[in-house]
Symmetry: C2
Subunit: 334 residues, 2 copies
């Protein structure tokens, strides 16, 4: 059985990225990888640019280090794409320390193409910022043109780049709480190592299990991706049949963000749970507003995680359609 | 199999402490319990009073939250005892947020008696400070008068008290990385919960295993304590036979702090590893200075962890005695 750190290095080697042992710090999930990165690079009142909507726990990690999030706005009409140089550079101030992106994206499913990745890498380099790239959904890209994307192939930004990684999505092992930070920046490695040493180690048995997971062959990823692609297609086609829903086909991860024809997705969700049923069943999604830093945004948006089996997903989307219809009639019309 | 949180509550119930489910937050070891507590209660430039010598990782957790440690000095001549009201109160300023103690103590093995615990509880209450009590060595008290000590029995300080706990010492399960914060302060519970939610969960399989560990009966602790008491007696009696060593019998945990007749314990340790051998063997301890906040203190002190088996411990102490003799002759005399 290989050590986890060696299993991780072998995995990156297959992606075309050579890592020294010091370049990898094993963490208690991607969550700790993010927290320790924020504690290492942020000071009070420094800023991190993050495209919104974004994974809400980023806020806690940035705030824990005294930092602030500067939201890079996107909109459903543009499919939540955020790789626009002028918009990004307009947010950079003397307090900016990092750009934090999730690629493929949670909650949007946006995947950057090669030129967009390169452009964002160039911005980080030009402005001497850390580029924190949360790539935990790397294997889940539904167009073959993306391959298995990683910023780590851009060696000219080695000093800027911090990769956040995890086994939880890659191997459906979220309960294992095993992730890592990958960086070649020696000063950052030293700061991260101090935090890692202070909390001693990641759970032993989970590290052994995670190391074994890395031995699965390519066929596992092919099947896993094919299954999620089917689920995505089901959800998107079902959503498009609902009048008034605005949705772009997500290219990666296993989420889709959609704008619903309701006044308030949070209120609608409560109503679905408390006042609605369709043959004794209802549905639950994540209301959109908490994914935004900007107050008032995302109010009628939702994030749907397509992690159910096909038949359950189909049924769930039918319930959602019926829920929207009845909510419009019974609540919004009043 | 009970849920871990219920197993923890049952365990505290047997100590005479009734806990609601909200009073317990399961953490990735006592380390995360400490980090999240510091992040929850400290702001930049606020202070925590900690008796020195103390577990060096406290520094990282306090600094991560922007706080500072105010060291409460002790000395080997007084057996590292720190429960002196005037000395403690003299360190309290408007920036003080908490008193942090380890009871039983690491690295000193000091155990507070009932009246000392009460006095420190009274100080925290009088000055409206958090009392963070790291009780991970609770079961390791070698005088029956201490019983299984916990500050949690003082219900009048429920608003002040934060207990740091862990399975790692209690059940010799340090690789499991399972601990908890216990507090009845609702505001603190809310702050801790936000951090806990942001990092999702503690590793699942380790929680299941830890819950099972709590089902061991009293006999396990009796045997475990008896074994460590023998080891302590061996180490202390052997240390007392070495000319120039200053050592008090530790009353708890599984460490002893001793002052050695050497110029610099760190230099001596390096020499033991690099230039000394006795029949091909040498010994390793933790040099004392890193356990102190105050520069220059602990230079000739060491922490010995008596976690080896009896015969190995005896041999190790003989090697240490021989090492000191030869170091004094070969290095210090020059």
């Amino acid at each position: 059985m290989p050590l986890l750190i060696d299993a991780v290095r072998d995995y990156y080697d297959k992606l075309g990225v050579k890592l020294d042992p010091n370049d990898v710090l094993i963490t208690t999930g991607g969550s700790e990888a993010l927290l320790l990165t924020c504690l290492s690079i942020l000071d009070p009142y420094t800023e991190v640019i993050v495209p919104e909507p974004y994974y809400p726990n980023y806020t806690t990690f940035v705030h824990a280090a005294g930092g602030r999030i500067r939201a890079l706005p996107t909109c459903p009409e543009e499919g939540y794409r955020y790789a626009y140089r002028k918009r990004i550079e307009s947010l950079i101030t003397k307090n900016t320390r990092a750009i934090l992106i999730t690629n493929p994206g949670n909650p949007t499913g946006v995947v950057l193409d090669e030129s967009e990745m390169r452009m964002i890498a160039d911005i980080a380099k030009k402005h001497d910022l850390f580029l924190i790239c949360d790539e935990v959904y790397r294997e889940f890209c539904y167009d073959d043109k993306f391959g298995v994307p990683t910023m780590a192939r851009f060696h000219d930004i080695d000093e800027n780049l911090v990769i956040i990684d995890s086994v939880s999505k890659r191997f459906s092992a979220c309960g294992a709480r095993v992730g890592c930070v990958v960086t070649k920046n020696k000063e950052l490695q030293q700061a991260l190592l101090k935090f890692c040493q202070s909390r001693l180690a990641v759970a032993s048995i989970d590290q052994v299990g995670a190391a074994a997971l890395y031995s699965v062959d390519h066929e596992f990823f092919r099947q896993s991706k094919a299954e999620y692609r089917c689920r995505r297609d089901t959800v998107v086609s079902k959503l498009r049949q609902i009048p008034g829903v605005l949705v772009e086909e997500p290219m990666g991860a296993f989420y889709v963000m959609a704008s619903l024809p309701v006044d308030d997705a949070d209120k609608f969700q409560r109503w679905l749970l408390e006042s609605f049923e369709d043959n004794g069943e209802t549905v639950m999604f994540a209301p959109g507003a908490p994914f935004y830093e900007t107050p008032g945004k995302g109010v009628n948006e939702v994030r749907i995680a397509y992690v159910l089996k096909q038949d359950q997903l189909e049924r769930a989307m039918d319930i959602l359609a019926e829920g929207i219809r009845r909510y419009q009639l019974e609540v919004m019309e009043q």
